[in-house]
């Protein structure tokens, strides 16, 4: 095994920044945080690929927008991202909860009271982790969070060591192998558990479904829809959006039923995918500054 160069920990996805964030949460007085976050968000604007990725996505979300305006919008995305990961780190280290608002509480209750498991489909918005933690504390059901493994091996090991602490509240499954995770999730959902899956990006090894978002081609994961069809459970679109400093809104939308209507399974999945992309578009249009997708979403599909 080759030894990694020392400087790789300082790359943008390297472990140094995660450790620095944890350290900052334990060392910076809360009333200095706005200055610290404003400064570091401006520092991370130097990250060219991430900045260009967000700016490219903004041209699709806001047609006709200028590069000048999108540069400042990108800063707003970075600012919100910095707050979100800070709130998440603060919860992990200090158990500090933010304020919460529940929008669409009836959908949340429906999921909680129905017999059998269910699937939560969400996006890289607001604090996905914080939402799962809240769910783990307020719900009677066990939740399994499916997430993409970190690219950097040191960061992956660091994140996994942190998640090991939360094992009592919720379980995390890393979608490294599509076939293994599918069987695991199917069993869990059939046992009445809730699987929370990010439905706005495809990671390597995961089967994609080609669709469009804001008129541009995009690949979405087919897995959650196939799982819902096989397990005969509904999909609940849930989004966690940041409303301000230490304040989040959990938006639970009307469930999507994935029903097998005919012989063509892909066609049936396509109906559910269309409903999901409609929800996704409406939420991203409203909360574009919290869609933390730092790569151009349509590049692969295009």
């Amino acid at each position: 095994m080759t030894r990694r160069a020392w400087w790789q920990r300082f790359l943008v996805k390297g472990v140094f920044w995660r450790q620095l964030l944890r350290w900052a949460v334990l060392n910076i007085p809360p009333w200095l945080e706005p200055i610290v976050i404003a400064w570091w968000a401006s520092f991370f604007l130097l990250w060219g690929p991430g900045r260009r990725g967000v700016m490219t996505n903004l041209t699709a979300i806001k047609p006709g927008s200028s590069s000048f305006a999108n540069f400042f919008r990108t800063y707003r995305v970075f600012w919100n991202y910095a707050w979100t990961i800070t709130d998440n780190a603060r919860y992990r280290e200090l158990q500090s909860l933010p304020d919460w608002e529940f929008d669409g509480f009836e959908n949340f209750e429906h999921m909680e009271n129905r017999e059998g498991g269910s699937i939560i489909l969400t996006a890289h918005m607001g604090s996905y982790d914080l939402g799962a933690q809240l769910f783990g504390e307020t719900s009677q059901r066990k939740i399994i969070m499916v997430r993409a493994p970190e690219v950097d091996p040191d960061t992956r090991a660091y994140e996994q060591s942190l998640h090991a602490r939360d094992v009592e509240r919720y379980r995390i499954a890393f979608n490294e192998s599509a076939s293994e995770i599918a069987l695991d999730l199917l069993e869990s959902v059939r046992n009445g558990e809730v699987a929370a899956i990010q439905g706005d990006r495809v990671t390597p090894g995961i089967s994609p479904y080609a669709t469009t978002l804001f008129g541009r081609p995009m690949l979405l994961p087919a897995g959650p829809f196939a799982l819902a069809m096989t397990a005969r459970v509904p999909i609940y679109p849930v989004f966690v959006v940041r409303r301000g400093r230490r304040r989040y809104r959990l938006v639970a939308r009307t469930p999507i039923e994935v029903v097998r209507r005919g012989r063509n399974r892909d066609e049936d999945i396509g109906i559910a995918v269309a409903q999901w992309t409609e929800q996704l578009e409406s939420v991203i249009s409203e909360w574009w500054f919290q869609w933390f997708t730092f790569e151009p979403y349509s590049e692969e599909a295009a």
């Binding site: 350290w23 334990l26 060392n27 910076i28 007085p29 809360p30 009333w31 200095l32 945080e33 706005p34 200055i35 610290v36 404003a38 400064w39 401006s42 200090l94 158990q95 500090s96 909860l97 933010p98 304020d99 919460w100 608002e101 529940f102 929008d103 509480f105 009836e106 301000g244 400093r245 230490r246 304040r247 809104r249």
Partner: protein
């Protein structure tokens, strides 16, 4: 951590604020309200650093004060960099203090860094208040707010029973 559900007035609870002056203002602003009957359910966390208004106000105040001091202490040619550099230099001492405290095994150094940051600002303000440059007005304002906060701390101590009653009303 304590939480209060569906009581919008809870956002103004003194216990959700850090500084005595902010606690006192919150107490004056807070008005009794019935339990919210809305489709949006609310959960308020009771934490002394929860107030958005207070934290943004303090951060902006310290940023403006600190940047003004840096500008007063440097050559005008460097002023163009100060709005950005000031943002870093204001929190930079926390890195050093946190690192030193870490050598002695301390992990959570927020309070130590808070006290020392305010202490350094107080020393800087005392110095700039004695100068003849326009920055002295900012320095006097800083010292004035600190004095007001000290008075508010005494008032809050006298009103501690009322503050506790507000907490109980929200939790009921």
């Amino acid at each position: 951590m304590r939480v209060i559900r569906d009581r919008d007035e809870a956002r103004w609870l003194p216990s959700r604020h850090h500084f005595a002056l902010a606690k006192l203002i919150a107490m004056i602003v807070m008005k009794p309200a019935p339990r919210a009957e809305s489709s949006i359910k609310l959960i308020y966390a009771i934490d002394r650093d929860q107030s958005m208004v207070e934290n943004y106000a303090v951060a902006m105040w310290l940023y403006v004060t600190g940047t003004a001091y840096l500008m007063a202490a440097t050559h005008p040619a460097a002023w163009i960099l100060m709005p950005w550099l000031g943002g870093f230099l204001i929190h930079a001492p926390c890195f050093l203090i946190g690192w030193i405290a870490g050598l002695f095994g301390a992990e959570d150094n927020r309070k130590l860094n808070g006290v020392l940051t305010m202490g350094m600002m107080l020393i800087a303000s005392s110095y700039f208040a004695t100068t003849t440059s326009p920055v002295r007005f900012i320095a006097w304002f800083f010292l004035g707010v600190m004095a007001l906060n000290a008075i508010a701390a005494v008032v809050m101590w006298m009103l501690r029973g009322t503050a506790a009653a507000m907490e109980r009303r929200c939790e009921a």
